[in-house]
Symmetry: C2
Subunit: 307 residues, 2 copies
């Protein structure tokens, strides 16, 4: 199937969607695209993609349609809103939603689409914009097994680890677990670095000495050095992390699971959001909230944004 | 200096101290030892160590004396109590305290010993009993630079990463930072696995799929599989982690640094301590507290201890 030229669609060409769609084109597939701001599609159109005025138009000619938008209501709009996919749905269509949205809403959308013979796979990703550009994303898929097998060769063009987690919503649940880990790991990094800083230990020493041991994490290795040099440019923006943590808590509420550490991390991210431009900073700006809490000034090398 | 046979002492031959002392003997140094329970010294005495009835007796004949005991009062007793090191102190003696204790108390002890011409290096370790046995510990040293340089060749017999962090207490402060990281990383692992469990996602899938990404940590890779198979045997016991977190909060209080995440982790470890034998479980038993909080029963494969 990988060698066959397929009719694909992609809706949502932001910082993640555009490079992901590019891999589909580069592999020789026919690609129809739509996104809210047409200028974001220009590079793909130059490479041979076809513009569609609505999600329905994308769906009309495609076997598999990918969506990569921000939040649950955006997916709902693309699927069921005016000019939405469902209005052009034909039986056998597979929709692969790579957005990070609510697992419960995903299950609801999936059931509604099934009435039209349309399969919805939830397929949120991790790996960030770098993973999107390099096709090294991890893609966590929930939904029908047969639909997954049909979509898998195309997913493999965009990621290096493609996992079918379970039924509809399971991909989103696993992504939610990932966001819990990320939130608490950066909280640990921030509190550890705040204590080190208060006693005059160079943050680089903390990262170097502790990074290889039992306290080590991706967050310490990757965000630690950025904090040490006062760099809060986003790898992943706090406002998107907050959107994801809201989804986490909604899922946890539905499952009656208390997540007190995650809740604390949300509050501290909110404290960063209270700074001008704070929500647009990277999640490593959690460090600003921990400093703020103890009324400690940012160090001299801290970037001025959000300070 | 490494090639020279030196007169060394070791006080505290528990699960960490005994193998550490063994490396000194194995390297050909003369070793005098003392520990509360003499039976713990038998293997070392068989290998050629000399028994001393008191810490003072150990100090009388040694250039460098190592201590590896549990808590701040234990170190104080070994240094300044009846039969303590200071009663036999001669100028030039170097004491290397590898215990994890209070940074502030360390600075106080160091100042008191300096009046006798005795140098105290704080040198807490990470790497656990496996690191102690394999001489792969990370050793974080605070105190006088000249004393550090004299002790370094011997420290290199016990660890693979020996770092002079700064003045007296700096080694303990860096160890405190490590314990913050460990506490919050295992909290993240526990909350993520609890949410996964509630939605029927296999914990092994969480560990496999998320471990290599931005949510990855030593805790997820090492404690995750133990939680998945219901294994709460201690790598590091909760009651020792709690002792260390008390030290962290004392140090943070002295520095006026609020550590809300660390405080939450302490409370959840306390919830595990409320179970019979809970304090003797490994820190991965944080998972029990997170389950308990939402009134979820332990899975069938959970080991009965502390359940």
């Amino acid at each position: 199937m990988n060698a066959t030229r397929r009719n694909l669609g992609f809706i949502g060409l932001g910082i993640m969607g555009a490079p992901m769609a590019g891999h589909l084109l580069a592999a020789g597939h026919r690609l129809e695209v739509h996104t809210r701001t047409k200028s974001k599609a220009v590079a793909l159109l130059d490479q041979g993609a076809t513009w569609c005025g609505t999600p329905a138009d994308v769906a009309a000619g495609a076997e598999v349609v990918f969506t990569m938008v921000t939040d649950t209501p955006d997916v709902e709009q693309v699927l069921f809103g005016g000019g939405g996919i469902v209005t052009a749905a034909r039986s056998g269509l597979i929709i692969v939603d790579t957005s990070t949205i609510s697992p419960q809403a995903t299950r609801d959308f999936s059931a509604r689409l099934a009435q039209h013979g349309v399969a919805l796979l939830d397929a949120p990703v991790t790996g960030g914009d770098i993973g999107a550009r390099n096709a090294t994303l991890t893609i966590m898929v929930g939904g029908d097994t047969a639909a997954f097998e049909q979509a898998r060769p195309v997913l493999e063009l965009m990621g290096k680890k493609i996992v079918h987690v379970g039924a509809s919503g399971a991909g989103q649940m696993l992504k939610a677990c990932n966001q819990i880990l990320c939130a608490l790991n950066i909280l640990g990094v921030s509190e550890a670095l705040a204590l080190a800083e208060s006693s005059g230990i160079a943050l680089e020493t903390v990262i170097d000495v502790l990074g290889g041991g039992a306290g080590g994490s991706w967050a310490l290795a990757n965000y630690g050095p950025r904090i040490a040099r006062g760099d809060y440019a986003p790898g992943f923006m706090i406002r998107l992390q907050q959107k994801d943590l809201r989804i986490v808590q909604e899922a946890a509420q539905a499952a009656a699971i208390a997540l007190p550490g995650t809740a604390l991390a949300q509050q501290l991210f909110r404290a960063v959001e209270s700074l001008t431009g704070g929500g647009d900073l990277g999640t490593q700006a959690m460090m600003k909230a921990v400093r703020q809490l103890s009324n400690r000034p940012p160090p001299a090398n801290d970037a001025p944004r959000g300070a």
